[in-house]
């Protein structure tokens, strides 16, 4: 009798233990995330508030940390005479979420400048990863979980353990620039500007070679819908360290090809925003003060040229044709 029960008993015990483990892990993670008041990703609250409170016409910068670190919104505001909201925070939020996040707050005559990292157009980064899950917990906006493919969520939850593992370093012993307080009133990250460069390796994982066609189409539709509502949408390539660019040039060329094939006009070329490695602060996307200044000038120039010719933007009619 006992033998016949044993598999069931063992099974029940293991399931019970796994439930306890899952609850403990999620609880611990949740506790640490929501108690991290100065958490870098908690800056999403500030950015959303800024977006809501800035009257149109305005310029909204959408992208990952490359624009948080690399653009000077004050100079941009002065150049265009428009209030600028820098929504750049983390590429891990996924371009889909970033676009949907700003959609309700942009109105006629607004200018949306989209500068995502290259990873958003390949593989499945478009749907977000750990950063998005963290933002979901911080904002308690559980509906945003829907952006992440269901099968990816368990792996993402496992990877998020770095928050628990590095809790001491980042919260108790904190002198990190990755803080909610590191941003200025326009949403630019400025805490790193006075700091010396941190040595970084360019041996990051290579970009996946497969273009995410859904991401390209989503972007196209976003531009087209905006055009119908009198909103100008401009796409830019992100800034990038030269050594990393050389390693990823083939994939970046493929991305440029996908834009061209899908009728998306990107201002200037990828090479225009490639800078020497010593202009980067701590990763191949994060410019230092000197790099930021140079990149801001070049971006303003590119935007000025593009705003003189708005006929390049697609419309919803052409979007329908593309979707066919």
């Amino acid at each position: 009798m006992e033998d016949s029960r044993r598999p069931t008993v063992l099974f029940i015990k293991w399931v019970a233990m796994l439930v306890v483990v899952a609850l403990s892990y999620t609880g611990l993670l949740y506790y640490i995330v929501i108690n991290g008041k100065d958490n870098y990703l908690a800056a999403t609250f500030n950015k959303m508030k800024l977006l809501e409170n800035t009257l149109s016409p305005k310029m909204v910068l959408v992208g990952g940390s490359n624009i948080a670190f690399g653009l000077d919104s004050t100079k941009t505001r002065q150049a265009f005479g428009l209030p600028v909201v820098n929504m750049g925070l983390h590429s891990g939020l996924g371009l889909k979420f970033m676009l949907d996040q700003v959609k309700p707050y942009i109105n006629k005559n607004d200018i949306v400048v989209i500068v995502p990292e290259y990873s958003q157009y390949v593989g499945d980064s478009f749907y977000g990863d750990e950063a998005l899950l963290e933002v979901v917990m911080i904002t308690k906006d559980w509906s945003a979980l829907g952006y992440i493919p269901a099968l990816k969520i368990p792996n993402i939850a496992l990877r998020l353990n770095r928050i628990i593992f590095s809790y001491y370093n980042e919260h108790v012993n904190s002198d990190s620039i990755y803080s909610r307080n590191s941003f200025n009133s326009d949403g630019d990250l400025t805490a790193h500007l006075a700091l010396p460069n941190v040595k970084f390796s360019i041996d990051y994982k290579a970009l996946p070679a497969d273009i995410n066609q859904k991401a390209i189409r989503y972007l196209y539709n976003f531009i087209a819908t905006n055009a119908d509502h009198g909103i100008t949408t401009l796409i830019l390539y992100p800034c990038l360290a030269r050594s990393y660019y050389h390693r990823q040039a083939a994939t970046i060329a493929k991305i440029a090809g996908a834009f061209s094939n899908n009728g998306i006009h990107v201002l200037s070329s990828a090479q225009d925003f490639v800078y020497d490695d010593d202009l980067f602060f701590n990763t191949h996307y994060h410019l230092n003060a000197q790099g930021r200044s140079l990149h801001t000038e070049k971006t303003i120039q590119a935007l000025k040229v593009a705003l003189m010719d708005r006929t390049l933007a697609p419309t919803s009619t052409s979007a329908q044709n593309l979707n066919k």
Binding site: V21, R159, N161, F165, K199, D203
Partner: protein, 476 residues
């Protein structure tokens, strides 16, 4: 689907439940479908086609060898089967090499090889060849049941990285009716968890240092390079041993005992001893199917015969890892270590006697230290991106400490260093003092075992690095 992914943590219990509730006569079908599903999860449909091709070839040739009496015909079928399997393996392994040669010669710009993966191909091909040879030598009988044979090659716990199982060991187990065994199930789960700990907590955290150094060797000198090299030596062990534990743990849950692949290799007292403890199923394979035939063929060469056979065997072993000079030199170095040991061993014993250290406990420690360093030296060629990098590492070992403190040791955080030191100390203590290992094991067998299961799983969840790295030997 890697063993350290959330998908596998879901896949495994689902397969087990289906297996458990299926009648004995159909259980092989469950395992075969699960194995093919597991292989298909690597998103490379051609891999499944290759597996089916190797299965079909070796099954057919095996039956032919067994059915014929004529030695010439038997030998012909053995050669046909082995050659076909080896050709498939060579095409996969050396496609990048062939492609680069073709690109250079014909001015092409093909990038086909960068999109091709060869996970598991070596392992099931080696199994297929050993099966054919064993039938030819009449060590084993051919398997008539195609399903059982297909499962022998494809059984998912050992599909991607081995162990390389002999037909005589695995096939009878696959045919046995399954009976639930509480202890086997529990020990299987523990072994799997232990392997996961080795991989995600120890190996992948060591990889942070090894990769940092070996991806940019010119940023470091001296002690930093030594630390990077030792970190890699430990990383590759924990990575592969972790995988093997997970594979064996999974097998045990299904009532299958897979071969133990590692036996504390870094406590080996000679390089020969190291190969008796490292990747055991592969070492046996190359010993039986490469070294022994060569030794037989060159038996008239005197002492030079075994030495030459060892060098050639390990050269082949190096080339098997890939068509780069680094792997060739790695294999050659091990061949030279082993070949030279056949000559100096008698003198070594005399020297120990003369020094009066033959019974000293320190001798063993000294031999372990020397062996570990010889093996680590060879890993430099295995891990370096190029021969130039390997030469830089070796020539800069004793020059300063550039990049040591701020760039290397502190770059991954103090908690990383502390965790690794604690883990390595625990492993070293367990290796040298069996009581420590027993004490540790007793935690998982006593009355509070569920508490320790919980704590151990939580430790892995908090300290593990998930989704960072694939298993190193997956690409071989």
């Amino acid at each position: 689907m890697s063993f350290n992914s959330a998908q596998y943590f879901i896949f495994l219990p689902v397969v087990f439940l289906v297996f458990y509730f299926t009648a004995d006569r159909y259980r092989w079908v469950v395992l075969l479908v699960a194995s093919y599903g597991f292989y298909a999860s690597f998103n490379a449909p051609y891999l499944l086609a290759v597996l089916l091709m190797v299965t079909g070839i070796s099954y057919t040739c095996g039956l032919r060898i067994a059915a014929k009496q004529d030695e010439t015909i038997r030998k012909r079928w053995l050669w046909i089967g082995s050659f076909a399997c080896l050709t498939i393996l060579a095409l996969f392994k050396y496609l990048p090499f062939f492609e680069s040669q073709a690109n250079r010669t014909f001015g092409l710009s093909s990038t086909l090889s960068s999109t091709i993966i060869s996970i598991g191909v070596s392992y099931f091909t080696f199994q297929a060849i050993s099966y054919l040879v064993d039938i030819y030598l009449e060590i084993e009988e051919s398997e008539c049941h195609f399903g059982h044979f297909a499962l022998y090659l494809a059984f998912f716990p050992k599909l991607s990285q081995g162990p390389i199982e002999r037909a005589g060991d695995l096939l009878p187990q696959l045919k046995q009716p399954y009976r639930f065994d509480y202890d086997a199930m529990r020990s299987g789960m523990l072994l799997f968890t232990w392997g996961l700990f080795k991989k995600v907590v120890v190996a992948d955290r060591l990889a942070l240092y090894a990769d940092q150094v070996y991806n940019n060797v010119h940023n470091y000198t001296g002690l930093s390079l030594i630390i990077g090299t030792y970190a890699y030596a430990l990383q590759i062990y924990f990575d592969f041993a972790g995988y093997t534990d997970m594979a064996r743990g999974t097998g045990r849950m299904f009532g299958i005992n897979l071969t133990e692949n590692f036996n504390s290799p870094y406590s080996a007292t000679s390089v020969a001893d190291f190969w008796r403890r490292w990747h055991i199923s592969f070492s046996r394979w190359i010993l039986d199917y490469i070294f022994k035939p060569l030794q037989m063929a060159w038996r008239n060469w005197g002492q030079a015969g075994p030495a030459a056979a060892l060098i050639v065997t390990f050269l082949v072993c190096g080339i098997w890892h890939g068509a780069t000079w680094g792997f060739v030199i790695w294999g050659l170095l091990h061949g030279i270590y082993l070949a030279s040991s056949t000559s100096y061993r008698p003198y070594q014993k005399r020297l120990h006697k003369w020094l009066g250290v033959e019974k000293s406990p320190w001798l063993k420690w000294w031999q372990m230290f020397v062996t570990f360093n010889l093996v680590s030296f060879a890993w430099v060629f295995f891990r370096s991106k190029s021969l130039g990098d390997a030469w830089y590492v070796i020539s800069s070992w004793f020059h300063g400490v550039k990049g040591l403190r701020s760039d290397l040791i502190l770059s991954q955080g103090r908690q990383n260093i502390l965790l690794l030191l604690a883990c390595i100390t625990l492993f070293v203590l367990a290796a040298i003092r069996p009581q420590v290992a027993e004490r540790f094991n007793s935690l998982f067998n006593g009355t509070s075992r569920w508490l320790f299961y919980y704590l151990f799983v939580m430790l892995i969840l908090i300290c593990g690095l998930f989704g960072k790295a694939e298993f190193i030997y997956g690409r071989f």
